[in-house]
């Protein structure tokens, strides 16, 4: 009885299925790469598949964390990919104009410039959504499209390469044997969790996303909160942009962060945050982003032919989304794994019920990611 109920508490934990999928995906690699889980120390740096998954997944985690709070308010931010490109372009072009590319002050200024641009983008998105009442998907589409143009203007349509050691640290350097980006991610995640859960911000965000009209009548300044989350999301994207350009020591206005918004949205959904807004889970999003990165790695290690790459990825994403749906689990595995609440009747002429919708909403997005 007690093991039974403990088992149920475990399977009903909101992180259970994302983590289960992550573990499964990791295990899939073992037959193909027997030393998949081993981590080696070479030249004072730790190497191994696990380390690279986190390293390569870092920008996605950052963008997805920002996306989570936006989605929690019932919004969405499609402009993050463009913000990634703009930030990288600005920072690199600034550094490339320095006499001494290794000067710390110049690098810091370049990064500050990138972050400032992101704040402007976030304010613009927030202004359109919160003040002008434009649908988030449309409002953020503007920078998604125009932003890449701006990035190309900055780079003159070329790939700017730089040669700056301090800048290289963010995305390509090591610290205490680990890639430096892992520390950046850890700090951003910790700050986000502290900001949302140590203050009342998380609660207010969830209230705005869960019932906007009720939040207004209860006196929540939802406009302010919405502007804040768009700025925060843009900042996260900016850090990711710095990281990506630092890793390659180059700014590519065309391709940096391309389609990252879609992977980020997927990561959020896999992490269990509903696209309808309301409850959100930063931890879930981190796991979701790792799932996506692991999937990409797995595709290479098990040697899926390149032309079927996307189909394979889509199939896995469908499975993950289905597993997330209590209704599906109840159908396939019986009531033990499913929600006890039974079916939410599809026939009700109701405004969509919030809890089961997340997974189904995600499905149409896969083909592009």
């Amino acid at each position: 009885m007690s093991t039974n109920s403990r088992w149920r508490a475990l399977t009903h934990h909101h992180l259970f299925w994302p983590v289960a999928v992550l573990v499964f995906l990791l295990l899939v690699n073992v037959p193909f790469t027997p030393d998949f889980f081993s981590v080696k120390m070479t030249g004072g740096h730790l190497y191994g598949s696990l380390v690279s998954i986190v390293l390569f997944g870092s920008p996605l985690i950052l963008v997805a964390v920002g996306m989570t709070v936006v989605i929690a308010t019932g919004g969405i931010d499609l402009s993050v990919g463009a913000v990634v490109a703009i930030t990288g372009a600005l920072a690199c072009s600034y550094i490339s104009h320095q006499a001494d590319q290794n000067a710390l002050s110049g690098v810091l200024l370049a990064m500050g410039l990138g972050l400032l641009a992101a704040v402007v983008c976030g304010l613009w998105n927030g202004f359109l959504v919160a003040r002008m009442g434009i649908q988030p998907i449309i409002a953020t589409l503007i920078i998604m499209v125009a932003g890449r143009g701006v990035a190309q203007l900055i780079t003159n349509g070329q790939i700017i390469t730089i040669n700056s050691d301090p800048y290289k640290l963010i995305g390509g350097g090591y610290w205490l044997t680990l890639p430096f980006s892992i520390f950046v991610v850890a700090v951003v995640v910790a700050v986000t969790v502290a900001l949302t859960r140590r203050t009342a911000l998380g609660l207010l965000i969830e209230a705005v996303g869960g019932n906007a009209e009720a939040s207004r009548l209860v006196g929540i300044r939802s406009r302010r909160i919405k502007i804040m989350v768009y700025v925060f999301c843009a900042l996260c994207a900016a850090v990711a942009g710095l990281m990506i350009s630092s890793n390659t020591s180059a700014a590519d206005g065309n391709n940096a962060g391309l389609w990252i918004e879609l992977d980020a949205i997927l990561a959020v959904v896999i992490g269990g945050t509903s696209l309808l807004g309301g409850r959100f889970s930063i931890g879930g999003t981190v796991v979701g982003a790792l799932v996506i990165q692991t999937l990409t790695t797995t595709i290479y290690t098990i040697g899926v032919p390149t032309q079927t790459n996307l189909v394979f990825k889509a199939a896995v994403v469908i499975v993950v989304c289905l597993l997330q749906s209590p209704k599906f689990r109840a159908k396939v595995f019986g009531a033990k794994f499913g929600a006890r609440f039974g079916a939410k009747g599809g026939a009700k002429p109701a405004v969509a019920e919030t809890d089961t919708a997340a997974s189904t909403d995600a499905a149409p997005k896969m083909e592009v990611s």
Binding site: T199, A214, G219, A347, D355
Partner: protein, 512 residues
């Protein structure tokens, strides 16, 4: 007299939610041509029984037979196709679609795959007419008050059998608290319709916390308590006192107490004044004064502008004219924040759309207003928060008394209490209660009314709106009478003020 065969029989019904056994071994039967009341306190399991029947929830045990055949519906649509039409407790329609679309959603009249809009509008208008309603079926549903939305939900359910292509027609009509925000005339209209359906042999399951309505319309009742069956009785065999005793498991004398209780508390100096406050399409400009510790009741028919008046005072809607002053300071009316800051609280009648955040927990919903006032940088200290929440869960007897429960999973009446708790916790100077007892059981209703009296004695002003005139009369120092979106009179309560006197005032407004 040999009993006919029941059209619906539910036997040994069990339903469990994590941590809650909502129904255990409940039997229920329904005969053709009867109106059967399902009675019980808030959280007794009435709505759950209905949702298990209609396939919203899956069954954890027991059997259901319809017309002698064993059935198990996977969705409300299947139940509907089998002849069970349902109006759920929470109005469950699409606010941005038109009334006609809402009535026909999912079964629009079509020809060659195309929706016949004209025919749909015409039939919708006829159905609405049958209920004696005067509404424009092409207008979006959200442009009507909650009571009208509730009526549209009823029209939708009874209309099912009528539109062709549906075959079977309604055998069982389930109404879960359909009358909670209706007033007398609409209730009578609904009862007329129910009687007609009953004569046609439809079996009707009716849930209401208004005992008078039960005794007026029902033939038989089944009483639930804490998810278990207490008994099935003919309405004629059981008086109200006996019924209440069955429902709560002990005798209830608070109700009587309240009748004797007179509002003797004195009112203080002026708290709030509204001058020429109005909004086109909402309510004509009015002047109003509310004193400290005063209970101001609003009386009027459906759509007379009671809710609109309250919303204007609170700043939920922006007035076109006039001003509101509280404690000598004029409020900015662009958002509710100014009013909230000045100590005004507003419990909306529409707890689902304008009140609760269903995904958040009881605790989070209760502290929301207080937290919003403090701003996001100053969370309420955990110890203080838990103490406050526990205090109000206890004071209002919210069940289950679990602050971690998701509000969406609470029974309707308990959700209403959470909404009340949210504002009480802010200790407002003026508490606006729009239908605070909507969906609340007899015992809790008396409790809430007593609470209003004691709050007013402690100096809190209350603006009280209720569909039941007696409720307003019993509690108020002053009664504002509304008609056709105008405040037509303000009467000081006294022995000579009776409900018929108020009805007269409402009616005589007609000749102006």
């Amino acid at each position: 007299m040999a009993e006919p065969r029941p059209v619906l029989q539910m036997t040994g019904i069990v339903k469990e939610f994590p941590g809650v056994r909502a129904l255990s071994d409940v039997d229920f039967r329904l005969f053709p041509g009867e109106i059967h009341a399902l009675m019980g306190e808030n959280g007794a399991g009435k709505s759950t029984l209905i949702k298990v029947l209609t396939g919203v929830y899956s069954l954890d045990g027991g059997t259901i037979t319809l017309d002698g055949r064993s059935v198990l519906f996977g969705s409300p649509l299947q139940a509907q196709q089998a002849g069970i039409s349902t109006v759920y407790q929470e109005v469950n329609l699409c606010p941005n679609l038109s009334v006609a679309e809402n009535i026909f959603i999912g079964r629009e009249p079509t020809r060659m795959g195309r929706i016949q809009w004209k025919r749909m509008r015409k039939e919708a208008a006829e159905l609405v007419d049958r209920l004696g309603l005067d509404i424009d079926v092409t207008a979006p549903l959200s442009s009507y008050p909650l009571a009208v939305q509730q009526l549209v939900a009823i029209v939708r359910s009874v209309g099912t059998g009528d539109s062709d292509g549906q075959g079977s027609g309604t055998k069982v009509l389930v109404l879960d608290e359909p009358t909670s925000s209706l007033d007398r005339d609409e209730v009578q209209e609904l009862f007329r319709l129910m009687r007609r359906l009953k004569d046609e042999g439809v079996a009707i399951l009716f849930v209401s916390h208004f005992l008078d309505q039960i005794y007026e319309i029902c033939d038989r009742m089944t009483v639930l308590r804490n998810g278990t069956l207490v008994g099935e009785h003919m309405v004629a065999d059981l008086d109200q006192v006996g019924l209440i005793q069955l429902m709560i498991g002990k005798a209830l004398d608070q109700l009587e107490e309240l009748h004797d209780q007179q509002l003797h508390s004195d009112v203080g100096e002026t708290l709030l004044t509204a001058e020429g406050l109005g909004r086109t399409g909402g309510i004509a400009p009015f002047d109003l004064e509310i004193k400290k510790g005063e209970v101001l009741g609003l009386a009027g028919l459906l759509g007379s502008g009671r809710t609109e008046l309250a919303r204007l005072l609170f700043g939920a809607d922006q007035p076109d004219s006039g001003k509101v002053t509280i404690g000598g300071k004029q409020l900015s009316m662009s958002a509710p924040n100014a009013a909230i800051g000045a100590g005004v609280a507003f419990c909306s009648e529409n707890r689902k759309a304008e009140g609760l955040v269903p995904d958040l927990t009881v605790r989070e919903n209760i502290i929301l207003a207080l937290q919003a006032a403090r701003g996001w940088t100053r969370p309420i200290p955990v110890a203080q928060r838990d103490e406050l929440v526990a205090k109000y869960i206890k004071a209002l007897d919210i069940r289950p008394a679990n602050p971690e429960a998701r509000v969406g999973q609470l029974s309707g009446g308990n959700q209403q209490k959470v909404l009340l708790a949210r504002w009480l916790i802010t200790q407002p100077k003026l508490l606006i209660l729009d239908e605070p007892t909507r969906g609340i059981d007899v015992g809790a209703k008396a409790e809430i009314q007593k609470l209003v009296v004691s709050l007013s004695e402690e100096g809190m002003s209350v603006l009280y709106i209720a569909a039941e005139l007696e409720e307003v009369l019993r509690l108020s120092h002053t009664i504002g009478v509304l008609r056709d979106r105008r405040l037509v009179a303000q009467l000081a309560n006294g022995p000579e003020i009776t409900s018929s006197r108020i009805m007269e005032t409402i009616a005589s407004g007609e000749h102006q």
